[in-house]
Amino acid sequence: MTPYHYVFLSVGMFVIGVLGILIRRNAIFMLLSIEIMLNAANLAFVAFSTLHHHLTGQIVALFVMTIAAAEVAVGLAIIVLLQRSRGTLRVDEVNLLRW
């Protein structure tokens, strides 16, 4: 299988993540969809690293994984605070700043 097939798979996975963000209104599912998109980008990075026989793509994939973990930590803290203060995780109901 050529690396291009992996890029195609990564595009499919990214679109599934976009679909998840657009149709789900629960904060945890939206965070999971963001993680799906990040992993799709990681797959594309590693596929292109194999294509060009250069390890840069894998190094960047490592950094993306680290940043994703840090971002999930902060995002989950925000979700916990949201549930505690608003009582709901639906992002449609967190609209105090909307005019």
């Binding site: 299988m1 050529t2 690396p3 291009y4 097939h5 992996y6 890029v7 195609f8 798979l9 595009v11 499919g12 679109v15 599934i16 993540g17 976009v18 679909l19 657009l22 149709i23 789900r24 209104r25 629960n26 945890i28 599912f29 999971l32 969809s33 993680e35 799906i36 992993n39 990681n42 797959l43 590693v46 596929a47 690293s49 194999t50 026989h53 250069h54 390890l55 840069t56 894998q58 190094i59 994939a61 490592l62 950094f63 994984m65 680290t66 940043i67 973990a69 840090a70 971002e71 999930v72 930590a73 902060v74 989950l76 803290a77 979700i79 916990v80 605070l81 505690r84 995780l89 449609d92």
Partner: protein, 168 residues
């Protein structure tokens, strides 16, 4: 053999990700995501990125998804009965996602089904090779990442801590 493995793990990966976004209960979604991470790690191994594959399992299965499950259990989240948006928003979202897929597919269609210039095997993504690059060429991003993790830790603790006494 490679085709069978790629089709199996790729199909399973897409199926698990679809199950993640369409499942009702957040705990099930996290576990489907975990299964998808194992399939993704198998794909990394097939691409020759062994260190990335190992760290994928360690980081995602061991850290990120454990955090997700902790939060799901802490907040006692039940089935998300009214989780989806209105019907118009869902239809618009599906149309947008599909058109996005069509656009990106057309962008890479020219090279997608052509043969690659060289063989796929041979990029050794082992610990030694990644380490040699990580500590010479990419030393600065490596150190900055440690600062970023520190900032994320402090931020998560401050955000999740709640009210502090004596704070107006």
């Amino acid at each position: 053999m490679g085709v069978v493995a790629f089709t199996l793990f790729g199909g399973l990966l897409l199926a698990f990700m679809l199950l993640v976004i369409f499942s009702r209960h957040p705990a099930y979604a996290v576990l489907y995501f975990l299964a998808g991470m194992f399939c993704l790690s198998a794909l990394y191994v097939m691409l020759g990125a062994y260190f990335v594959a190992t760290l994928q399992i360690v980081l995602y299965a061991g850290a990120v998804l454990v955090m997700f499950l902790f939060v799901v259990m802490l907040l006692s989240l039940n089935e998300d009965t009214e989780g989806e948006g209105r019907k118009l928003a869902r239809t618009a979202g599906a149309v947008l996602a599909f058109s996005f897929f069509v656009i990106i597919f057309n962008a890479i269609r020219g090279v997608l089904f052509s043969s690659p210039p060289e063989s796929i095997a041979g990029v050794m993504g082992g610990v030694r090779q990644i380490g040699m690059l990580l500590f010479t060429d990419y030393l600065f991003p490596f150190e900055v990442t440690s600062l970023l993790i520190l900032a994320a830790m402090i931020g998560a603790i401050v955000i999740g801590k709640g009210k502090m006494e004596g704070n107006s």
